[in-house]
Symmetry: C2
Subunit: 448 residues, 2 copies
């Protein structure tokens, strides 16, 4: 049989019904997986590219369910601050000066980092998402774009941003054989009025796209909502009709049992961002309870300014550790479940499980190969534990997205690495020095 | 001036009085740092080896204050278990079958992993520590060896192990110009009787060596001590005379305010092991309170079977995150303090701050160079934050220990990497299949 790419003699973590295949073969044709199985049972393939998978682990590409890719430009500028101060004093004033080109180079830098750490699909929420689309397409990544909608008391702003988000959805949703999809991205219940949220809800239904929102991230904001509306953030979302299977709710920390039952009832999807939640001291989400309620939970890094990394291996490890300590129970969130969250559950959370998330025939070929011949991955008694607790993004050797080899032996084929880093650095420094007001603020932040 | 090695044009994180040097020069001669300062102020050096530090960050080698290096052989064999079950059902039965050669190859594998992730000094507690010494010396690492002393009701066993520990101290303490030092390693208050602990205390004083112990790691054990002795573990140590500046207490999770005051009064040193504490769900130590009480806290990975990694960059990140969430305060444990804990404070905890822990003239040359030209380290707005939150062990390019280049461009010069991995793997599999009783147990653990 003919294939475009075959990978021979690798261990395959399918995350599908076939489970773990000790010595397997993967064949890719026209962007699709056409064979995933034991080498001894494989038909004979001819292929343009034959990859020797000996000593390597193949697994579905990692899916980052919640990030703000362009915020790589802000990595390290505002350390050790709680969410509201971090946003109000550092991030928002800088964001108000952002230009489309900054977002493009910031996103491109993040795409490079994601590829080099094994992420093949990311779900982004930010401004100038057409620039993020441009960066992701150039890099060869799969992406779900949510154009940020924020009102913060300015109704006109909310209207303009909603229009932009609708335009983005019309332009990109389902484009490139599904490699790009779009959600509407109302920032949060505390930064969007119920009226705006209701319009977002209607537009999303009309366009048949998902909605991506920050939910119950900060205790202060959640409490304020309760004071001002007399109900929880989740209930506000219920009132405006946004509780639905295509709602992707990031964080979900400050939830009551009733809130969890509501999310479960409406099959809402959750993005768990353990590093950012710890770094900003936002709180620890009750992931075990969410899972026990039957809710699909994907993993996210959150933006590089509150992590400060896009390495999903790092996030997988901390995701598991944080739940074990939260519930004082080392049995909570075993390694295999964490890998599900970073692959197939992430795909479900983004509505992409028909396309990606597992290595199964008929799905798009989004996969990574890790080099297991490393001291920290030796001996390999338990491959799931090794992937969660011992592996790092830098162990990823090869990245294939939509059937194309994007990285081979750690060389990214789609981007000029030096150039991407240089331009992003330039943009970051330019942004910090842009206009006096910003410069003064940046100086204050940087304490220089 | 003559030097053996000079490193030019690097950013230097000295962790000493000079702070951060943007463009610096480091000169090494006869194992010592002979210049650490700004390039423009440096005298003219001639050197056998000249390293171009452009785009690199130089910092003190990382100090791992608490590990059990040979446990790399057990990495992944007993996942998702609480400490007491993990020890009783999985680890102790396997350890009872350990041979000196297993420990040598397990330790050698860990030495390789430590070098490749920037650790230059480790403090180990285990059995057959002479094999760990052999491995560390071969690898070129600096080490503090604690021969494990455990009694668990068998007085003869305690006596034999104490004698062994004393023998190790006589043989190795201060050897190789201080590259090897020794502590006595009573396992824990719950596994050693007060009589044995008193003898350990006396021997340590006679030999003028430190004592390394697990303290208040498990709540169950701490509670049992309180029930059986009518006092806390810390007070038991006080009674037997072990509270002293040269006591290194690992974990210190279940402490009262009174315990903390006692540790501070006696200038006891603490090793904080955030990953292991989370993975085994042992609890979260009150590191902020320990620091506020003036206690020196170093960082440890704990053994590779409860982490499952020896990457101190990973440990630094999680160390900071865990305290921020513990105290619901993102300002707790800022990045620079975490780096202090992994360098100069670690050196203090091991009684080695006169030798290493900072890059200052007169200290032994233990240092690492990180390649900062990576997407996840771009832009470099805050180098301390980048090292803690964004860097990984794989960013370490060069490792120098005691003035010798141990790793260059990620090639370890002292060890044959393939051979070390192969032999350790063999030993691990041999150990699991050794004798029927062990095999049955291993099968149960591995669920095969």
């Amino acid at each position: 049989m003919r294939a475009d790419i075959i990978i021979r003699d690798c261990m395959i973590i399918t995350m599908g019904n076939a489970g773990l295949i000790e010595n397997g073969l993967i064949a890719v044709k026209d962007g699709l997986l056409v064979y995933v199985g034991r080498s001894v049972e494989a038909p004979s393939f001819e292929a343009d590219v034959i990859i020797n998978g000996g000593g390597k682990i193949a697994m579905p590409g990692l899916i980052n369910c919640h990030t703000h890719a362009a915020m790589s430009l802000f990595r390290g500028i505002a350390e050790d601050k709680p969410l509201d101060v971090w946003l109000r004093e550092a991030i928002w004033p800088l964001e108000s000066k952002l230009r489309s080109e900054d977002v493009y180079y910031g996103a491109l830098l993040s795409c490079l980092e994601m590829i080099k750490s094994g992420t093949t699909c990311f779900s982004d929420m930010y401004f100038y998402e057409d620039s993020v689309a441009k960066a992701a397409l150039e890099a060869g990544l799969r992406c779900v774009l949510s154009s940020g909608i924020i009102e913060a008391g300015h109704k006109t702003l909310g209207r303009i941003l909603l229009n932009e988000a609708v335009g983005l959805a019309r332009k990109y949703h389902g484009a490139y054989e599904g490699r790009v999809s779009v959600m509407l991205g109302p920032h949060a219940v505390y930064s969007c009025s119920p009226e705006l949220l209701r319009r977002v809800s209607d537009e999303a239904e009309r366009l048949n796209v998902g909605v991506h929102i920050h939910l119950a991230e900060s205790e202060v904001n959640s409490d304020n909502i309760k004071k001002n509306y007399g109900k929880s953030e989740v209930k506000v979302l219920g009132d405006v009709g946004l509780l639905r299977p295509s709602l992707l709710a990031a964080h979900c920390i400050h939830l009551s049992d009733e809130d969890i039952a509501l999310l479960a009832k409406h099959n809402v999807k959750v993005a768990y961002n353990p590093v950012s939640n710890m770094k900003l001291a936002s709180g620890i989400p009750r992931i075990k309870d969410l899972l026990d309620a039957g809710i699909t939970v994907g993993l996210g890094t959150d933006g590089p300014a509150s992590n400060n990394s896009l390495d999903m291996f790092d996030t997988m490890k901390i995701a598991a550790l944080l739940q074990k300590i939260k519930y004082s129970n080392p049995r909570v969130l075993p390694a295999k479940k964490v890998i599900e969250m970073a692959t197939i559950d992430g795909a479900r959370a983004l509505g992409l499980d028909g396309l990606v998330g597992s290595l199964e025939v008929g799905k798009r070929a989004d996969l990574i190969l890790l080099d297991a011949h490393k001291p920290h991955l030796t001996p390999l008694h338990d491959v799931y534990a090794a992937l969660v607790y011992s592996a790092r993004g830098s162990d990823v050797d090869t990245v294939i997205i939509d059937g194309k080899i994007i990285m081979e032996k750690r060389n990214v084929k789609t981007l000029n690495e030096d150039e991407v880093m240089r331009r992003a650095e330039e943009k970051a420094h330019d942004l910090l020095s842009r206009k006096n007001t910003v410069r003064r603020l940046a100086r204050k932040i940087l304490r220089v």
